[in-house]
């Protein structure tokens, strides 16, 4: 079993407390998807993952971390 974790919530606050709606508008998804991502209930496509990383101006690996469960 694998798990993809992310730091979206932390990064939003570090970027002038960006709202979920603002991030959703920037990457072209719904606010509900951002909520699901932050709660770890949804793993995005590679395209959306890159768009989110670009929205924060950092590398993909700085937003998403791949962990292999033992």
């Amino acid at each position: 079993m694998t798990k993809v974790k992310n730091r979206i919530r932390r990064l939003r606050f570090d970027n002038d407390e960006m709202t979920q709606q603002e991030l959703a508008n920037r990457v072209g998804c719904t606010r509900q998807t951002i909520i699901a991502l932050e709660q770890g209930k949804y793993v995005p496509s590679i395209t959306l993952a890159f768009q989110i990383a670009r929205a924060f101006g950092i590398a993909l690996e700085d937003v998403f971390q791949y962990e292999e469960a033992r």
Partner: protein, 145 residues
């Protein structure tokens, strides 16, 4: 609640009300043979049948066409909904076959009116099951399945 989820919920509600209304009309008018004999009644049912889904589709398309209403997560969920639709349609057809076979076994033939009723019920069930499939999809994504 995501726009698509809302749409599915409204769709399910409208579909159930529409289905119940049709059943009530049939019961109030007597039985299924009324459909065969009464042209006025038949035209009302046909008008409802064409009008309601058409109005629903127009409203849904206008709602979902706005930018940012549907994203990859919604499309993933929509893509899974046909599994529920298929199951629902198969079960409804099996139910029709069993009921009609048991009812008309002795007569050896089934009234033609049932062809229309089977089609109408199958399309209603298919539409309802699509909404149900979308709602199940959101529930499952929420559970992180």
């Amino acid at each position: 609640m995501a726009p698509l989820q809302k749409r599915a919920l409204y769709g399910l509600g409208i579909g159930i009300v529409f289905a119940i209304a049709l059943i009530v009309v049939f019961i109030a008018k007597g039985d299924v043979t009324t459909f065969d004999e009464d042209l006025g009644f038949r035209l009302i049912v046909y008008a409802l049948w064409v009008g309601v889904p058409l109005a629903y589709l127009i409203v849904v398309n206008l709602t979902l066409r706005k930018p940012g209403q549907v994203d990859e997560r919604d499309r993933l969920i929509m893509g899974r909904a046909p599994k529920v639709q298929l199951l629902a349609v198969i079960f409804s057809l099996v139910a029709w076959v069993i009921v009609l076979t048991e009812l008309y076994w002795d007569k050896g033939q089934v009234p033609v009116v049932f062809l229309t009723l089977i089609m109408i019920s199958t399309l209603i069930i298919s539409t309802l099951a699509q909404s149900l499939g979308i709602l199940i999809g959101y529930w499952r994504v929420g559970r992180n399945d």
